[in-house]
C-alpha cells in the first residue's frame, strides 16, 4: 500500500516521472495549496523498490510492504 502525505507533498511530480513502473498519475484537480498531488493509481504494478521514497524531496511517500 502507498501512503502519500498531502500536507508534505509539493506536487513536483518526480515520483510520477521516475517510478520505473508508472504507478503514479498526476491528479487533474488542484488541492487547497494549489498543488497537483499524485495518485498511486497503478498500485498493483508497484515492485516496492522504494525509489519514489528515496527521491521524494519532501519525505511525503511511504510504501508499505504488506505482502
Amino acid at each position: 500500500m502507498i501512503k502519500l502525505d498531502p500536507d508534505l507533498c509539493k506536487g513536483c511530480q518526480i515520483c510520477t516521472e521516475f517510478c520505473p513502473n508508472q504507478v503514479y498519475e498526476q491528479s487533474k484537480t488542484l488541492d487547497k495549496k494549489g498543488v497537483h498531488i499524485p495518485i498511486p493509481k497503478n498500485e498493483d504494478e508497484c515492485s516496492k523498490c522504494n525509489l519514489c521514497t528515496l527521491m521524494c524531496p519532501d519525505q511525503a511517500i511511504k510504501v508499505i510492504d504488506d505482502d
Partner: protein, 287 residues
Amino acid sequence: MEDVNESPFIKYLRKDRLPHIYCAGCGNGTVLNTFFKGMEMAEKDLNNINMISGIGCSSRIPGYVKCDSLHTTHGRPIAFALGLKIGNPDKDIVVFTGDGDAAAIGGNHLIHAARRNIDLTVICINNSIYGMTGGQISPTSPLGSFGSTAPYGALEKPFDLVDLVSAAGATYVARWTTIHPLQLSNAIKKALKNKGFSFIEAVSQCHTYYGRRNRMKSPLEMLRWMKENTINKTKADKMEPEEINGKLIVGEFVNKIQEEFSETLYNLIEEKSGNRKKAIKSAYQGE
C-alpha cells in the same frame, strides 16, 4: 518512533519544522534522504553525528535533522568542523555545504582540510548557482551558462570539485547526482566509514534559479538532463576526450587509506604526555 504511515526518513527529522523551505522539486530534500539511507547502510547512529553547515539553501539542512548541529558563517563550516573533530575525535562530523559555500567563500578551508586528511564527511550539494541570493554565477556554473550576474553567459571556466579535492589529498571522493539516489546513498555510506577526509559532490537541480535561465524550467527537465548527460567514470575512462565533452562524469574517484590527522595528533599527545584522555576537553563532558 516510526509511524508506519509516514516516510521512513521522517523519524530523523524535526517534524514540527516540515514541510521544509525548499522549492517544489529541489534536489536538497533528495540528498537528505540519501544521507539517511547511507547512514543506515554504514550503521552509524544519528546520536553520534554532528552536522555543520555554512550559508546557502543546502546549508539549511542540519536545522531539520534531529541531531546536534552548527549553522555557521558563510564558507566556514569546514573550519568549525575541524575544531569540533579535534576536540571530539569520537564524533562523526558531517558538513552540508553548497558549491558557493564550499568552493568560493570557503575554498581555502576545503583544500586544507583535504590536505590534512582529517576525518570529516563533506557533502557538497552542487546546483551550479547561488540559489538563496537570487541566481548569481558560482565557481561551478558551467562556461556559457546564464545567471543573474551573467546575462550573456558565464565567462569563467568552472572548478571541477572532484579534481580539486582529489589533488588536495582527500581519501574518499565521489560524484553522483540526484537522479542516482542509490549510488549516492552507497557513496555516503563509504564516506561515513572512511577514516579520513571524504568528499561527496551531489549534483542537484535548482530549477528556480539555474534551470529557469538555462532552458530547463522544471525539476523534471533538469533531472532528465542529468539522466541523459552523465557517464559513469569506468566507462568515461575508456572514451576519447571529445566524446565526454560537456558530459558529467559520475562515480568513485578516490578511495584510499592514509594517515588521519586527529589520530596522528592524539598519538603525539599520548607519546609526549602519556595521557590521551586529558587532551580531550569535550563540550559533551561538560569541562
